[in-house]
Symmetry: C2
Subunit: 292 residues, 2 copies
């Protein structure tokens, strides 16, 4: 039996370290593959070659960024101001769409994940929630009154500034643009830069994790004050440390006080498949060319 | 000619220091009066007595908060966790509605102002913008894709945390809940508490203003990263210092870097009438009982 007999969507979760490509129709019907992110030409060629095996009706891409989401813009579908060599100003949506000859739905990786969580995951039935990833970077996608928050460009939630306790933590921050923004203080690379050790190798009782929860809770508190979400879904590689959820939940009311109710904080319902499943949903939207 | 021959809406901008009451239909047709905020009984009685002179079809209230905006809640229309004596858990919408016998539209003061700016002011035609007031407190209302951001409760944008430079500024902050949140560092009372001088009496070349612009720019940068607005309208008593707009505009790109485009920053199109005009719009919405 050939895969080409089924009508499926193609998906690309384009990350700075890997591309996750998928085909299928949803969480119960998804095949996927991981491709290391190298140069745009090489990585896109590998992704396209894999997707060509299937008769996909459309492709969705959830991409690292910043990206251009303005349909009126000449650079719609491009990755824009990334520090990642070779990818700056690369027309990712265009390259994939031309190679496969199908329509492309395009958005940020975190917006894609938020769409998937809203449709199939822990955001189902929640009008106001955020999906926040903490991994090689920090980013967030928001649903407001049941609809994806687009904004004038797209949010860059990881780059908010939070209090940085220089006495407790003299680390200058890992963000090449902002130094000690939230991403600069609490992403995976920030943990590694501060402690000179891969985050995955730090034991659960290492002081790194109390500081990590402290910073993340400050970030979530700011999002809570600004967007008033009922729920915040925290995903990404750093959040594989399950105890972080507990510590963040404990820290949040200490920061917000009784003035602002703390949102629910928990893992994404779709785990680490939220991004690629969101890209699948973007493919479907790309066909209808309607924003969520 | 009697005022009662016209069909008009009533409006109350309920502030911690004063109530601004209005009647009319919009910016070209608005009469208003100011009533000092004392006890709930006294202040509401005065507001109601003034509004009774007119045959208002409905009343809108934009209130200081936090407030309960949940229509399903038993305390809908109440002011909730305010530190303001006497007003905690006061049923403001109920008291006004019962006294006047008309429908009441109810929201936060800053959401009301954002609605007015969207309809008649500097938010017209701008799908994504914020109204932020800097006065006795700091608060914000947001439009997202042309609709008011409600959230699970309502935003409390003034209470985000930003970096506090303790060396440059050892002032602990004025917020009774959070100390050095944005409101605690940059509201009118924060300026007075830090410099032991009324903000209005500080000369334009006083170092207070550079610090004020620094903090406000950090707050706006966080809002920009989280909501991606095209424009931020800054109102409130502190913003009467016109030079602040210039300094904030200059500071913003230094904080956001080229990574995130700085939103336009300017004054509200309706000046200090945004709040009461927003309450007028809430009256109209209250009649139709549809959220914006």
């Amino acid at each position: 039996m050939s895969n080409t007999l089924r009508t499926v969507y193609g998906a690309i979760e384009a990350g700075g370290a890997k591309f996750v490509c998928g085909v299928g129709t949803g969480p119960e019907d998804l095949q996927s593959v991981r491709i290391p992110t190298t140069s745009p030409d090489e990585t896109v060629a590998a992704a396209v070659a894999w997707l060509r095996q299937y008769e996909v009706r459309a492709v969705g891409i959830g991409s690292f960024g910043p990206v251009d989401l303005d349909h009126e813009s000449a650079t719609y579908g491009h990755i824009t101001r990334t520090p990642k060599t070779g990818w700056r100003n690369f027309d990712l949506a265009g390259a994939v769409g031309r190679a496969l000859g199908v329509r492309v739905g395009f958005n940020t990786d975190v917006n894609a994940a938020a769409i998937a969580e809203s449709r199939w995951g822990a955001g189902r039935g929640v009008a106001d929630f955020l999906y926040v990833t903490v991994g090689s970077g920090i980013g967030g996608g928001a649903f407001v009154s049941g609809r994806l928050l687009h904004g004038a460009a797209h949010p860059e939630m990881g780059h908010i500034r939070i209090p940085h306790d220089w006495v407790r933590d003299p680390y200058a921050g890992a963000c090449p643009f902002h130094g000690d923004c939230l991403e600069g203080l609490a992403s995976g690379p920030a943990i590694e830069g501060r402690w000179h050790c891969r985050a995955a190798d730090l034991p659960d009782d290492h002081p790194a994790w109390a500081l990590e929860a402290h910073y993340l809770a400050h970030g979530l508190a700011n999002f809570a004050c600004t967007l008033s979400p009922a729920r915040i879904l925290l995903g990404g590689g750093v959040m594989r440390r399950q105890h972080l959820y507990h510590t963040i939940r404990r820290n949040l009311p200490d920061i917000l006080k009784e003035y602002v109710a703390a949102p629910d904080v928990g893992p994404p319902g779709l785990g680490d498949r939220a991004g690629v499943l969101g890209a699948l949903a973007l493919a479907e939207q790309g066909l209808s060319e309607n924003a969520p």
